[in-house]
């Protein structure tokens, strides 16, 4: 129902710094991921602190140990209940910022336009690199006016040599145009990890996502993605945000009934929206390979599995049309206001980080 672009930074009146986590949002709220919260919000082990803008803040880390994260979420819910939205449509919860709690919105697009106006002579090495990267990306045919900068690049609290460059690209088509361009474009400062490096990376960085992949599978998937690379030895990430008129769903037009953890497979027929958050893969011939508990008996035989949805960035652009996809996530029965019911698998809901799904969820194609 409400459009608010993905990867926009929001400061709240309670001292949170959040990042919008989708383009479609429930009325009166913005779905976000809290990035930094006041130091007194949580207590416990393993918290990571940052000194930002005169304040000691905790970096909210969804990848903290599950038991610890569970405790943090309990504390969070108790202290800041208005930042958790129990969604009647999803029968699930989201981190949100109520609209009346917004203190300031940092617009990535405006920020970049301002940065591009600064003469090169007055830029530090980090911002010089950002300008050069944007200049380079513009050669794809996507106007810099449809790009933005986010996170520390936008707020100015970056550390050259450590901070990534986070670029936002606006428009579904623009997103693909840049991804296509990056397949072949060359620049002296641009570097992608080679397949060999991805294999080494796989061996050195075992994550809950990569655990579902063999080395071959992992290297295959990562080696063909172009949303993350290095530019001048600085990591850059490109986030794609849909325009208002092209969001692939409108909040409130569907309701979702969670069924259980399932593993499905199917053939990808459309990956057009697989580069945004949430992204999805349209599939055909969907088949449930495994479903937890006794839910199998409740599955409606005449309702097909049509979509695999991801909130998790590592699983975006994971499959292309024509490929056979396999995914494990939360099976939901989708009831649209108009049209037929269907099933979908969702990977990366916030609750997955504190449930068994954290270790189980994945999306991959047959290699």
């Amino acid at each position: 129902m409400a459009y608010f672009p993905e990867s926009t930074l929001i400061d709240t009146v309670d001292g949170f710094q959040c990042k919008s986590y989708a383009c479609e949002h429930p009325p009166g709220y913005i779905i976000v991921k809290p990035k930094y919260i006041p130091a007194d919000a949580l207590t416990g082990e393993g918290l990571k602190y940052r000194f930002l803008f005169e304040q000691s803040l905790i970096r909210f880390n969804l990848f903290a140990k599950k038991e610890v994260l569970t405790q943090y979420l309990e504390q969070f819910r108790k202290k800041y209940p208005s930042y958790i939205y129990d969604c009647p449509l999803h029968k699930n919860w989201f981190f949100v910022v109520p609209v009346d709690k917004i203190k300031q919105v940092h617009d990535p697009k405006k920020g970049l336009q301002e940065l591009l106006k600064v003469p090169k002579k007055d830029l530090d090495p980090y911002l010089t690199l950002v300008q050069e990267l944007v200049d380079f990306l513009s050669k794809s045919g996507v106007d810099a006016g449809n790009m933005g900068i986010t996170h520390s690049t936008l707020l100015g609290n970056y550390t050259f040599g450590k901070s990534d460059i986070d670029i936002t690209v606006y428009g579904n088509e623009n997103g693909w145009k840049i991804m296509e361009y990056l397949k072949n474009a060359a620049h002296p400062l641009l570097r992608w990890k080679s397949e060999k490096e991805w294999r080494e990376y796989y061996q050195e960085h075992k994550t809950s996502e990569s655990a579902h992949f063999t080395e071959n599978e992992y290297a295959y998937h990562m080696n063909r993605k172009r949303y993350e690379g290095t530019f001048g030895e600085t990591v850059f990430t490109i986030f794609i945000s849909e325009f208002e008129e092209e969001t692939w769903f409108k909040w409130g037009e569907e309701s979702y009934e969670p069924i259980g953890v399932a593993t499905v497979k199917g053939k990808v027929v459309d990956h057009t929206h697989s580069h945004v958050r949430p992204g999805y893969y349209e599939i055909t011939d969907g088949e449930i390979m495994e479903l937890e508990g006794t839910h199998q008996k409740n599955i409606l035989k005449d309702v097909s599995i049509k979509r695999v949805v991801t909130y998790s960035i590592p699983f975006i652009q994971q499959a292309l049309a024509g490929e056979m996809l396999k995914a494990c996530g939360l099976l939901e029965l989708v009831t649209p206001k108009k049209g037929e019911k269907y099933y979908r698998i969702v990977v990366g809901y916030f609750d997955a980080y504190v449930s068994d799904r954290r270790e189980k969820e994945y999306i991959k194609v047959e290699v």
Partner: protein, 580 residues
């Protein structure tokens, strides 16, 4: 109204401002705009920065003057609400002030530092770790955390680890001076002061040599302990006055512009020279140049005021400074009118005053005479707390508090001297001894001897007589010859005495005479043999090896014996002198 200097204010329309002073008009905070968004006005003559997601101009008062003038003209049109027309000052004065209702956020240095210091060190990046370590070091001065703050980019969070300075605020002038005193004498492996070359670059960048003379300027700057390097990162320490210690209250005085002037004056107080605006209280002001009025040495100039931090702690009481700036008549609400010279009002930067204004330390042509006169006119009467003064009433043969025996007295209270033998020696207690000679009066400087011929003569006499008596005693050793071939066969006597004007060590004059052998026979630092000693190095730096010297009591019997002999020898010498 009091509001702490060096806090940072962001305005609702996006300006970043630095609070500029500690006293402010009611309802507005005096500031220097630091970063100004470019959506309304901009100037290519000013540096650009990308801060808070905006392209900003950094206001630099030393930018091209015409361009700055043009920019400030545009600023007045775009942001009239931030121009403060002070009813206390002449209409030409330019102040920037943020009305309280235009403030978006205040960044408080003290609060920011408290937050920073409460964080686990492991969570800090390199720059913040350095701030943490530096502040931990500064706290060893005795200041407490609430006395300190951090400001500028460290506080705001847009610092660049490679380039950004450590900017520390000290709350309270007294605290600031205490910290400066601590830094004078302390050492830390990560701390170093600016070298002469670094000060030279600093001054060159500000084009200060033209007026100051390189050597003198560097010498003056080197005294400052407010700037240096910690882990090779530049740090600058600022002072912010507490409400109860501001040197003026906004509204308690009015100021009338008289013209420009160049003056000299002798500093009577530099206590408030550490804050902004800074103030040197002066006396004996002399006007060397003034416009539009002619030189007027019947002036009543009592203060030199400045807004530029480069002039902080430039000069100390007793020194003479020269300053060029705007002469104002000060009309206090209570008390008598006086004059002051102000350097660095904002409007100076877009007027001819920009190139003309300065403050520098100058040689005081009257200083030599004045200071020597003071030195020679000191009160030399007996001081009850002085251990030497307490020995004056003792007669030859009597012992003082320390156990020293009076061996000789010469002259009267005005011009007299006396000698004692010490019960202790740093040399060999079975062979060596030390004699000390002191004036009867509480003299503290050798130069004072020149004021009284008899005093100087008596000094020479007692020195000669002690020398001869010591030589006689030493000649009791059959090995002593007038001239020997080998170093080890020689029998040496040394004298040691010093005086200073440093009040903590301004002591009753005393000159030690002792056998220059054993541990006491090591070369003095003024000897060329000291310079030839082997230089060794350890973790703390270079050093030369010396034997430790420990004072030992001379055996009672020996002490009695040599005391009596010395008394006898001194009597004989005095008798001879009288006869001659």
């Amino acid at each position: 109204m009091h509001f702490y200097e060096s806090s940072i204010i962001t305005t609702k329309d996006g300006l970043h401002c630095q609070v500029y002073g500690n006293e402010h008009p009611v309802g507005a905070i005096l500031v220097k705009p630091k970063y100004i968004p470019t959506d309304k006005i901009e100037s290519a003559a000013l540096q650009y920065r990308f801060i808070s997601s905006k392209k900003m101009n950094r206001l630099n008062l030393w930018a091209d003057k015409e361009a700055l003038k043009q920019y400030l003209h545009l600023f007045k049109e775009a942001y009239p609400q931030y121009i403060y027309q002070s009813p206390l000052h002449s209409s030409e004065r330019l102040f920037f002030a943020i009305p309280v209702d235009s403030i978006e956020r205040v960044y408080y240095p003290r609060r920011g530092l408290k937050e920073l210091m409460s964080m686990p060190v492991s969570s800090l990046d390199g720059h913040l770790k350095n701030v943490h370590e530096f502040v931990t070091f500064l706290l060893q001065s005795g200041l407490v955390l609430k006395d300190l703050g951090i400001t500028y980019s460290t506080l705001m969070g847009h610092y660049l680890s490679e380039y950004s300075d450590l900017n520390i605020v000290v709350y309270g002038k007294e605290n600031y001076w205490k910290l400066m005193q601590y830094l004078e004498s302390t050492e830390h492996s990560s701390l170093r002061w600016k070298t002469e070359a670094e000060w030279a670059t600093f001054l060159e960048n500000r084009n200060r040599f033209t007026r100051f003379g390189k050597e003198k300027a560097i010498e003056v700057m080197k005294r400052k302990k407010s700037e240096g390097y910690f882990n090779n990162k530049l740090f600058v320490i600022f002072a912010a006055e507490k409400e109860e210690e501001t040197w003026f209250k906004w509204g308690a005085e009015r100021y009338k512009q008289l013209g420009t002037a160049t003056i000299t004056g002798k500093i009577t107080s530099n206590i408030s020279s550490v804050v902004r605006p800074g103030c040197y209280e002066i006396t004996d002001a002399q006007v060397s140049e003034s416009l539009p009025t002619n030189s007027d040495n019947n002036n009543n100039i009592k203060k030199i005021i400045f807004y530029n931090r480069d002039y902080c702690m430039l000069a100390y009481p007793g020194e003479r400074i020269e300053a060029s700036g705007l002469l104002e008549e000060v009309i206090p609400e209570q008390g008598e009118a006086y004059q002051r010279l102000v350097v660095g009002y904002f409007d100076a930067y877009i007027s001819e005053r920009r190139e003309r204004e300065y403050i520098k330390v100058v040689e005081d042509k009257n200083n030599t005479a004045d200071e020597i006169k003071k030195l020679l006119c000191e009160d030399v009467s007996l001081q009850p707390n002085c251990p030497f003064c307490r020995e004056i009433p003792l007669q030859v043969g009597e012992k003082g508090d320390y156990g020293a025996v009076i061996v000789s007295r010469i002259g009267n209270q005005k011009n007299g001297w006396y000698a004692t033998i010490s019960p202790k020696t740093g040399g060999n207690a079975d062979e060596d001894f030390t004699v000390q000679i002191m004036p009867f009066n509480h003299l503290t400087h050798f130069s004072q001897l020149a004021e009284d011929e008899a005093l100087a003569k008596n000094y020479g006499l007692i020195f000669a007589q002690v020398s001869k008596a010591m030589a006689n005693l030493m000649a009791e050793n059959p090995k002593m010859k007038a001239i020997v071939e080998k170093r080890n066969d020689g029998i040496a006597i040394a004298t040691y005495g010093k005086c200073t004007t440093w009040k903590d060590k301004k002591e009753h004059l005393h000159l030690k005479m002792f056998q220059f052998r054993n541990e006491l026979g090591q070369p003095s630092v003024v000897d060329s043999t000291f310079g030839k000693k082997e230089i060794e190095t350890d973790a703390k730096g270079e050093f030369v090896r010396m034997q430790p010297v420990r004072k030992k009591n001379i055996p009672e019997e020996r002490f009695k014996n040599i005391s009596e002999k010395l008394i006898q020898l001194m009597k004989e010498e005095q008798k001879k002198t009288k006869n001659e």
